[in-house]
């Protein structure tokens, strides 16, 4: 484990990163019972960036997202959102504050219709805004419009992922957390999902993307963090990480 040796400097990047980060984790530690899951994660996400967290199973990627969205509260360290300490704010209030998430495994409400799933995504907003944004999501994912009256559980995996992303967009998040959006999808669908992630970002939503598919993630992201057993072992520009020897060996499947 080469935790200290490969700490690349987070160089100034493509997206303008002056000033205060939109989202910042400072030395965050979390526990599941006695298990020390996150062992001091620090990271920054700036406005309009796509930042990716890559790493193996159990590295702490999903746990990091839970520390951000309020489902887990850090025992040490801080989560700052827009400069405000939100370490102990409950999850449902963070949605109002502007953190939206498409969770791991999609977690569609299978016995609600597609439309109702989207309406749930806009739970914190007024009915008129919801009606407008439903149209916006349908424009992004025309497939969902065709299926609007079907139950969520009847959709295919790819459609469910579109619904999960669309549902997360309904709260008009300032930062969108995406947890393994490509999981279980066919290669063509993976391409589609990543194209959509780019488009959402181009429309002005900051994205924090957790992926096992490191190559795709680094292609779409501006910057990345590599996690290993609850620590950040490497951070930098996505292009630099793609060239990094350790990343290539461990995560891009090169020998």
């Amino acid at each position: 484990m080469s935790e200290t040796s490969v700490q690349a400097p987070p160089a100034a990047g493509a997206a303008a990163r002056n000033g205060q980060p939109l989202l910042e984790l400072q030395d965050v530690h979390t526990y599941y019972g006695h298990i020390h899951a996150l062992q001091g994660i620090s990271l920054e996400v700036h406005r309009d960036e796509i930042v990716t967290l890559i790493g193996a199973n159990g590295a702490g990627k999903t746990t990091t997202l839970k520390a951000i969205n309020g489902l887990l509260h850090p025992r040490h360290g801080k989560v700052l959102f827009d400069g405000r300490d939100v370490s102990h704010v409950p999850a449902h209030e963070l949605v109002r504050a502007g953190i939206g998430q498409a969770p791991e495994g999609r977690r569609i409400f299978s016995r609600l219709t597609v439309l109702e799933n989207l309406q749930m995504g806009g739970y914190t907003r007024s009915p008129r805004e919801v009606a407008q944004d439903v149209e916006r999501v349908f424009a992004l994912f025309p497939r969902l419009r065709e299926r609007a009256r079907q139950n969520g559980g009847t959709l295919s995996g790819g459609e469910q992922q579109m619904l999960a992303i669309g549902r997360a967009l309904m709260c008009r998040p300032q930062v969108l957390l995406l947890d393994e959006p490509s999981l279980g999808l066919s290669p063509i669908l993976v391409q589609q999902i990543f194209a959509i992630i780019r488009e959402i970002n181009a429309q002005g939503t900051t994205i924090l993307l957790v992926e096992q598919n490191a190559l795709q993630a680094l292609n779409v992201a501006h910057r990345g963090y590599v996690l290993q057993t609850g620590r950040v072992v490497l951070a930098g520009e996505a292009a630099a990480l793609r060239q990094d020897e350790m990343v290539r060996k461990a995560y891009l499947g090169e020998i």
Partner: protein, 338 residues
Amino acid sequence: MQTQRSIRLPARLDGSQLPFVAAIAGSLVVAYALVGPQQFSNFLTIGAVYALIALGYTMVYGIIELINFAHGDVFMVGSFVALWILSGPLGLHGSIDNPALLAVVLVGLFLVTMLILGALGIFIERFAYRPLRNAPRLAPLITAIGVSFILQNIMQAFFGPSPVNSPQIFTLNARFDVAGASIGYLNVFIVAVAVALMIALQLFVGRTRLGRAMRSTAQDREAAELMGVDINLTIAFTFFIGSALAGAAGIVWVLYFGYAVFNQGFYAGLFAFTAAVLGGIGNTTGAALGGFVIGFLQVAAAQYGYSRWSEVAIFGVLVLVLVFRPTGLLGQQLGERA
């Protein structure tokens, strides 16, 4: 925008609902043929009471997977609250013969009692069940039994151990004859109120923002939280509605049977729980259906001179249904989640 606030039935009354509606209508005709007009009206009335209580069992189970064994006693408290309002503050002794006044009293009685009972439900959830939300499942279950004893004993302390008579505000001879049977207006009123409350509940759960939040929370609590749903508030509200409906059942009981007693919630609760399981626990339509099935079994057993066997019939049918349809008559099929 076609997506919002157009008036459409939640149950989407299209062709797919026809077999269900036909089955219900057919069952009603068979029931009528079996027990005759007099007992038919009794069955609908008693079934309505069980159905109203069963809704609370099924909603609470749906959202936190707790069999709330205190729910029958919440119904019992509802009866006493109604009885007390009628004889205490209103000081009534006999019937109210002025229809307009009767209507005003009834509306007020339902509003006040249901609000008080809803508040009781929130109180019970807040102090008995919420602290145990992440405890092993046996803990809240046993707590529910404890709450049941507490409610029974409080009511016994206030009203004594014997049945307390309530003023009969409906004149007993307010009846009409149809098909050779004499039906009380009270029966008609009770069935109408129960059906209206059930339709209101379906509309609420099916069409409103809060109703959607309740269904989402029932399906995936964490995902609902990530949508911005305040889980505590939503669960508290579920208890409010379930307990208010039990309160309505309590009023109906007092109006119909003319008394309340501290342990009336035990059997009624047990039957209503059976109704909820029979219909498919977690499913509100199923709970209502189950309530009427149980009401029918009870009345039919009495009609044929086997009233002492009515419990055997009820639980026998429950066993049969669970053997052949483990998720109940209208239960969710297992393994639906992708």
